[in-house]
């Protein structure tokens, strides 16, 4: 196997490392970099628990060859909170609304929501549901998750 040298930005930091060519992004994050916030639910791109942001765009990391992040910027759930520990609006809103039950889909939901709010700061219910349609949840029935995204939008707006 020919090793690859991968250089990319991870949660705002420059990273350079060697990987084997068959490495999938989710395993690079979880096994090698010990960033276990991104979850594995299906390994088929079917459940969205593994969602990360590649140049700000949500993708399923479980079916993405790690080599594809070459030269790009990657954000995971661990990269959202500020250095001082302050959480983002969507993270606060999730807690306030009770939008997490078992929490396994939560990182995926939050990453997708983060990307949505970046492009559409006050989405309506249909837009929220559409943006989250690629992330499955078995616990919540989605209602409080949708509410949390709306709440986060309101929070961002009131902060100006």
């Amino acid at each position: 196997m020919n090793a690859l040298t991968l250089s990319f930005t991870l949660n705002g930091n420059d990273v350079s490392l060697e990987i084997s060519p068959n490495t999938l992004l989710v395993d690079l994050l979880r096994d090698k970099l010990r960033l276990t916030g991104t979850k594995v639910g299906c390994r088929e791109g079917e459940c969205g628990a593994c969602t990360v942001l590649l140049d700000g765009t949500p993708v399923n990391s479980c079916i993405l060859p790690a080599a594809k992040v070459q030269g790009k910027s990657l954000t995971t759930i661990e990269g959202l909170a500020q250095k001082n520990g302050q959480l983002t609006e969507i993270q606060e809103a999730f807690m306030h609304e009770g939008a997490a039950q078992c929490g396994f889909c939560t990182p995926g939901m939050i990453m997708n929501s983060t990307a949505l709010l970046e492009n559409n700061p006050q989405p309506n219910e249909q837009e929220i549901r559409q943006a989250l349609s690629g992330t499955l949840c078995r616990c919540t029935g989605y209602r409080k998750i949708v509410q949390a995204v709306a709440t986060a939008g309101e929070m961002k707006k009131s902060q100006g």
């Binding site: 060519p21 068959n22 969205g48 969602t51 949500p58 060859p65 080599a67 997708n112 349609s133 690629g134």
Partner: protein, 304 residues
């Protein structure tokens, strides 16, 4: 049907010895040639990676073509629209141009998988999957699209009607060739289109039936000039309902026409019994419903 080892035991990883990221088309084609069939193209990877994990396909190397410049644009030249080989489903779904000129394709592209999948999966990849109900294959077939395939020997253009060979198989050899362009004519003034999808839930699911229709009609005279109807899975490949199209040429715009076309279409379609996605009986009945709906909605779209 006896179960094999890989039906019962799943791997976490994929088995690939090399992952190459060429910077030009020529480089990519050369690498493929050098591997002599042991490497294949990967674009978004949303089809290829799960297939590798399931051990349905085996390769020594993957040649990632997403670094090749100039293939990710949507271009317009008069009525002609061209999608680069790396254009994603998300791009097509949100493109103002395509929503205006070929809404059926935007809707088809917007129905694939999920937002995360659509963000990196390419329309070219959807065609190459060779699935009989692929959500962009069907509209593109109704739009009489042509694809341009690049190989070591140069480029060749293949009409989509000749592109699909069998379920999962197309004329493109993914170990030697790269699909670089998809071209079609946008809808013109007296044309309307429609895309319909039948599935068991509203996202992240393969369809039971997909239909796309393009109808060219003279509303004043109340006559259908021409219709293109593509649907699947009613055959091993995405299907153009040729008999129905022949019947519709010059037919009056009326419920009777639609009903007759639908009945005729149902006879033409031979879907399999699918354990998970509908019996033959049901899918034939739905072909009838969809042909009727597809025609009437496409005509309703004319002029809007």
């Amino acid at each position: 049907m006896a179960l094999t080892f890989k039906d019962l035991h799943w791997a976490k990883n994929i088995q690939v010895q090399q992952y190459l990221q060429p910077g030009t088309l020529e480089e990519a084609l050369e690498i493929l040639a050098n591997f002599g069939g042991r490497a294949r193209v990967i674009a978004g990877g949303t089809d290829v990676v799960p297939q590798l994990r399931r051990r349905n396909i085996e390769v020594e190397a993957l040649v990632d073509v997403t670094g090749i410049p100039g293939l990710d644009g949507i271009d317009q030249d008069g009525e002609n629209i061209a999608l680069g080989g790396l254009v994603t489903h998300a791009q097509v779904a949100s493109s103002d141009l395509i929503r205006k000129k070929a809404l059926l394709l935007s809707e088809g592209a917007g129905s694939v998988g999920s937002p995360q999948i659509r963000n990196i999966a390419t329309v070219a990849g959807n065609l190459i999957s060779g699935q009989p109900a692929a959500d962009t294959s069907i509209p593109l077939l109704a739009l009489d699209a042509t694809v341009t395939i690049a190989g070591r020997d140069g480029e060749r253009k293949v009409p989509l009607t000749e592109f699909f060979l069998d379920k999962g198989k197309t004329v493109l050899d993914c170990t030697r060739e790269i699909l670089i362009r998809i071209q079609f004519k946008g809808l013109i003034e007296n044309e309307g289109g429609c895309y319909l999808r039948l599935a068991k839930r509203k996202a992240l699911t393969l369809p039971m039936l997909v239909l796309a229709a393009v109808v060219n009609a003279d509303l004043g005279k109340g006559i259908i000039n021409r219709a293109a109807i593509a649907l699947g899975p009613v055959a091993p490949v995405p299907y153009r309902a040729a008999n129905v199209e022949g019947f519709l040429k010059g037919a009056p715009i009326s419920d009777e026409t639609f009903a007759a076309a639908a009945n005729m279409g149902m006879q033409e379609c031979t879907p399999r019994d699918s354990c998970l996605r509908g019996s033959c009986d049901y899918r034939q009945e739905m072909s009838k419903v969809f042909i009727k709906r597809g025609l009437s909605r496409a005509i309703a779209q004319i002029g809007s």
